[in-house]
């Protein structure tokens, strides 16, 4: 069975990529055991740099490394990678379009136990607002492997957010990353759900639950910035309305991006996401997803409301 944890497959892919290209460097801020940067540290210690608990310095150092021809991947929890080092990502990296890859691990509420301080519900919005930034949210472990390779092999400032927990793959193993290509993972004709990350799988569950009454198309939007407006419009126009689903605040994330894209269209739209609140601790992932309204049932409810007008 294919690996089902994004972090694990990310670490494995980094090791492969580092072996292929000695210019790839993996930087950690004392969280390598979680980000899986430790896999590189163990396999190829010369290509791993421990920067200590200093995310701001790590981000700017990565900018310097990029300017002497290196391909740095900087790693931390998403909440710190995108939040703590925001200004360094903006000033040291993005203005210069530097070839730095920022990977926000344990994103969304996937670090369920640690609570609001460690759960990132705004990283997509923050990163998306920065000019020159690419934002990638892989749907599963398989797509994470492909996206990681894409990031290493293509120039540019890129942010990728990863889930901490294991869950079933919804994309094919070994498929090259389809950059900026929203992908239909289930066809349907009544309502389209645009989803990213773990919510792609949950949207498929919702579509299955509704199958005898409502035909739901599910689209995996793993490249949130740039957003392929042509494809979004194509998948939104031939249905009654659309739903977006993300493990992120409804402010500024995938829903916001899709709404910006469809601003001239008269298409009913519903958001499934975190309703402008912080997370909190939970004993298990399912509990916090339920608490924040991020389940297949929540998506099904939103689809029904669009379908029924």
């Amino acid at each position: 069975m294919a690996e089902t944890n994004q972090r694990t497959v990310y670490g494995q892919t980094l090791v492969e990529l580092c072996r292929e290209n000695p210019n790839i460097l993996v930087l950690d801020a004392d969280l390598g055991g979680s980000t899986m940067g430790k896999m590189v540290e163990q396999a190829l210690p010369d290509q791993h740099i421990e920067m200590g608990i200093a995310e701001a310095n790590m981000a700017s150092v990565a900018g310097g490394l990029a300017q002497v021809g290196k391909i740095p991947f900087i790693n931390s929890f998403a909440v710190f990678a995108a939040g703590r080092a925001y200004d360094q990502i903006r000033q040291s990296i993005s203005i210069g379009k530097l070839n730095v890859k920022i990977v926000g691990s344990s994103a969304g509420c996937s670090d369920f136990g640690d609570g609001s301080t460690h759960q990132s519900i705004e990283d997509i919005a923050i990163m998306r607002a920065i000019p020159n930034m690419t934002v990638i949210v892989p749907a599963d472990a398989n797509e994470t492997a492909a996206a990681t390779r894409y990031m290493a092999e293509n120039k540019g400032t890129m942010y990728m957010r990863l889930n901490r927990n294991s869950y079933d793959n919804v994309t094919e193993e070994g498929t090259p990353f389809r950059f900026n290509e929203p992908a239909v993972v289930r066809e349907g004709s009544d309502v389209t759900v645009f989803a990213c990350g773990i919510m792609v799988g949950k949207a498929l569950e919702a579509a299955e639950q509704l199958a005898d009454r409502i035909s739901v198309r599910v689209v995996n939007v793993s490249t949130i910035k740039p957003l392929n407006a042509e494809k979004i419009k194509e998948y939104a126009k031939d249905v009654r309305g659309i739903v977006t689903a993300e493990e992120h605040s409804i402010v500024g994330g995938l829903g916001g991006a899709v709404a910006e894209c469809l601003r001239r269209e008269r298409i009913p739209m519903e958001f499934v996401g975190v309703n402008d609140r912080f997370g909190e601790s939970a004993h298990c992932y399912a509990d916090i997803l339920e608490r924040l309204g991020l389940t297949a049932a929540h998506i099904a409810e939103a689809v029904e409301s669009i379908y029924n007008g």
Partner: protein
């Protein structure tokens, strides 16, 4: 006159030209960072016209040394040095901040010879550290120089970088602290006192050299000495005077970022002639 004396005299003349360029770059009626440019002018002159290797016709030449202006607000000083070194025409200087032009208010990669963008204080030393690490990984001899403001040392990131640079033993990295003792809102000793500076850098594991930042001989001696230190980065703490060379701007907080009147402009150029 012996060789050394002659060289120093030439560098002193060059520093005067850079200060004149700064004034011409700012012009009349437009705010510009006169004070911090003039305090660092001798340091930047020594780097560009004595110490650093570079090719103005090929700014990305692999053998070059790197200069990063962590105190990015004195971009005009670096622009003056780059123009005098031949990276772009001196005639470009007065067009600084013109919409669509390559000379931005803070260093930007659109300008030939600029290695990284800076302006948000505290980040240049980290950027330089990244370059130093990358160069060392490739066994390259290039050196990295970062000009840090003394007020800028308020930023925590400076000390994150200081700790990391010493831990990684980056002896190809040299920080130069423009210790002009004034920050934007007044004397550092009154705003956010940060002395003892030398002891702080020593405690962080750096080789520290203290100099008079307007004495060209001391500057070039320090830069030469820094290159010989192995196993640790060097911090040159240069004691300077904000607004140096322009009588009415010297040690005056108000000249951190201010527009010049026509009268002040004329007087400044006359004093720097």
């Amino acid at each position: 006159m012996n060789e050394n004396r002659k060289r120093i005299s030439e560098l002193e003349s060059k520093a005067k030209i850079l200060r004149q360029d700064v004034i011409k770059c700012i012009g009349v009626g437009v705010a510009g960072h006169v004070g911090g440019s003039c305090s660092a002018a001798d340091l930047v002159t020594a780097l560009y016209f004595y110490k650093m290797k570079y090719d103005p016709k090929n700014p990305h030449w692999e053998g070059r040394d790197y200069f990063l202006l962590s105190k990015g607000h004195v971009a005009i000083l670096q622009y003056a040095a780059l123009a005098e070194a031949g990276f772009f025409p001196v005639e470009d200087l007065p067009r600084c901040k013109e919409v669509g032009f390559h000379l931005q208010g803070h260093p930007h990669l659109s300008t030939p010879g600029i290695e990284v963008g800076t302006g948000s204080l505290g980040q240049g030393l980290s950027l330089g550290l990244g370059m130093a690490i990358g160069l060392k990984l490739d066994d390259k001899p290039n050196r990295v120089y970062v000009l840090v403001g003394d007020g800028e040392q308020n930023e925590g990131q400076i000390w994150e970088a200081a700790m990391a640079a010493a831990a990684k033993q980056m002896d190809n990295l040299c920080a130069i602290i423009d210790n002009n003792t004034l920050q934007a809102q007044g004397p550092i000793a009154e705003r956010l006192p940060s002395e003892p500076i030398a002891e702080k850098w020593k405690a962080f594991g750096w080789n520290v050299i203290e100099i008079d930042g307007h004495n060209m001989e001391e500057i070039i001696t320090a830069l030469d000495q820094a290159e010989t230190i192995k196993g640790k980065p060097t911090a040159i703490i240069a004691h300077t005077v904000k607004g140096k060379g322009i009588s009415f701007a010297e040690n005056v907080t108000g000249f951190h970022n201010r527009a010049l009147t026509q009268e002040e402009y004329d007087q400044a150029l006359a004093e720097l002639a």
